[in-house]
Amino acid sequence: MFRIQRENLPGLYAAIAAESDLFLPVKAAGKTNYALWSPECQPDLDTLKTVKSPKDVFFPQSENLYTCQRDAGKLSVTPEKHRDTPFVVLGMKACDVRAVAVLDKVFLSAPVDTYYAARREMGTIVSLACGKPEASCFCGTFGIDCAAPEGDVATWLTEDFLYWNPQSEKGTALTGKLTALLEPCGEETVAREKDGIHAICQRLPLKELSLSNWGAEAARKNFDSPIWEELYHPCLACGTCTFVCPTCQCYDIKDFDTGSGVQRYRCWDSCMYSDFTMMAAGNNRTSQMQRFRQRFMHKLAYFPANYDGMFSCVGCGRCVDKCPSHLNIVKVIKAFEKEGK
């Protein structure tokens, strides 16, 4: 276990950034989101939830896959280079770290998405425990301990110090580069911090949320339920939930004609959009009820069925906070809880 005084954190950021890109929560124009560190930026480790999750660092909102050139009728394809420089993402909460494991299941399963794999190889995750969980948090439902986040290095922020504990080879390697700034220390303070956080978790309104009617077995059962008709009405089909969610991974592949070559890029997409499944021959999901149902069936039934019971939700609560119509996965989980009784 190591620690560094809070007032020395700018020095820590500068030291990390000297060797590799550093991404961390930054306050800008009144909101906190992950951004590339620069000496002028305003790091913000005190705000619990960033608006957008850090999934961008591994799965960017848009990225080029290749460029195609046409020369005298002949085509040539130039693939985009893979990321080959290291980076550190600091301040990830336990829920967001677990979300990376969810994305790994999709992108690292055969055939491997090499662009994602390169970023995972190059990235070091420095996670941060949740000193003050929010009322909309429910990571505990998915077996996530926000007081002891996974990650290459786990950290805890107290009033005076940032406590730093490497948890993997990558974490140890990073720590090794920062020994001048980190002082070794005992484990007692962090143990107390963890206890304090667990006590708060006991008071969270969503702590009793139960997944008893969800999981791989629900893949057939819940689809036909009349509950979906009752739930979906206020949905605006805007896609905000998908874009703030740390595990949503649907993407689109499109072309962009730059005038001197066509860039083939991929970008985030949302299964909530009306044209998501549209093809020349028709559309297999024509109503918003069907699209609404698909999103939650995927997260709570199909994904666990395909990946040994792992859910594609980590209880971060961003959808609870941000949906313009106040719909969210908690309401879906609860509606089916009642049905089971």
């Binding site: 848009s62 206020p234 805007c238 499109k254 985030w268 313009p324």
Partner: protein
């Protein structure tokens, strides 16, 4: 609220309306969801408090395609949007039974800057508290009703409904700021300063489309930003140019039809003050073509869709 429920039940049971569009309460006072009610029994869940900021008029486009009338509770600002939808033939008047519900200002939890909010007491209708009590995981806090109010309520156009079948509930004036003050302040900035302000705000944009999807003026069946027919990087947040253009283009598309209902700013997950673009256009339209409020009535000619020989030429005659 009981009055609302009783009236809605009466209208539903008499067969005058086939369904009711209002709000229902979720877990907390600020977790309020627009909801449809089909049975008298379900109407016991009809809810209305100071957090019911959602503009229900846009849901009537789809609801109007169903059999029978929809009873809808419209706040004063919502009624302007409804009128505008009528003008654009997106809804039919006979498909809605409008109860103009009273309003004393609407709140948003985004303006309550405390961690771990569990509940907000004092946000009821019609009896609210000037000083809200906010229970949080980290202690009890307080905030004034006004501080938690949506920006648009501070510059409210007025608590009179412009279209309704009956009125219910009392309203209260909430204006304490000048409607175009923020726009005027921006206009007074040096161009670089103003650009830096908007660049900082718009770079937060995640292209989630909440603003477009909630906007009653944005009801195109096939939005230009969803079209594959032209070559811009729709959906992809590729460059800062892209997401700035999205907002500017959208503001142009709704100019003259935007009623300034403020929903775009309420729903933006990044808190971007999108209403500023729309309000700038409204201010300019008022200056160039005379005061005009979209949705105020059905008869007046909209300045951007009608031509008069004495119309000001752009760039000429502005003070």
């Amino acid at each position: 609220m009981q009055e609302m429920i009783q009236r809605a039940k009466a209208l539903l049971e008499s067969g005058q309306v086939s369904r009711v569009l209002g709000w229902k309460k979720g877990e907390t006072e600020f977790d309020v969801e627009p909801a449809f009610f089909d049975t008298a029994e379900s109407l016991d869940g009809l809810f209305y408090n100071a957090f019911c900021g959602a503009n229900l008029s846009k849901y009537l486009i789809e609801a109007g395609k169903k059999e029978g009338k929809t009873l809808v509770f419209l706040k004063p600002c919502d009624s302007y949007s409804y009128n505008q939808l009528l003008r654009e033939h997106r809804v039919e008047r006979e498909k809605a039974y409008i109860i103009g519900i009273g309003c004393k200002g609407k709140l948003t939890v985004n303006k309550i800057p405390f961690d771990g909010i569990l509940s907000v007491q004092g946000a009821d209708y019609p009896d609210y508290s000037e000083n809200l009590t906010v229970e949080t995981l980290y202690g009890t806090k307080h905030i004034s009703y006004k501080e938690a109010m949506l920006e648009r309520c501070h510059v409210c156009k007025g608590k009179e409904h412009v279209v309704y079948d009956e009125l219910l509930g009392e309203s209260q004036d909430t204006v304490d700021a000048e409607r175009f003050a923020q726009v005027t302040a921006l206009e007074a900035m040096a161009p670089e300063e103003r650009f830096a302000f908007f660049q900082a705000e718009l770079s937060k944009c995640i292209r989630c489309n909440a603003c477009r999807n909630v906007c009653p003026a944005c009801s195109c069946r096939k939005c230009v930003f969803d079209s594959t027919a032209f070559d811009s990087a729709q959906k992809a947040n590729t460059t800062s140019f892209e997401e700035k253009m999205f907002h500017v283009i959208r503001a142009f598309h709704v100019a003259g039809r935007c009623t300034d209902c403020g929903e775009c700013s309420r729903v933006c997950p990044q808190g971007i003050p999108l209403h500023l673009f729309n309000r700038k256009f409204i201010k300019d339209i008022n200056t160039i073509y005379g005061d005009y409020q979209a949705g105020a009535d059905l008869e007046s000619k909209a300045p951007l869709t009608s031509f008069r020989t004495d119309d000001a030429e752009p760039g000429v005659g502005r003070g």
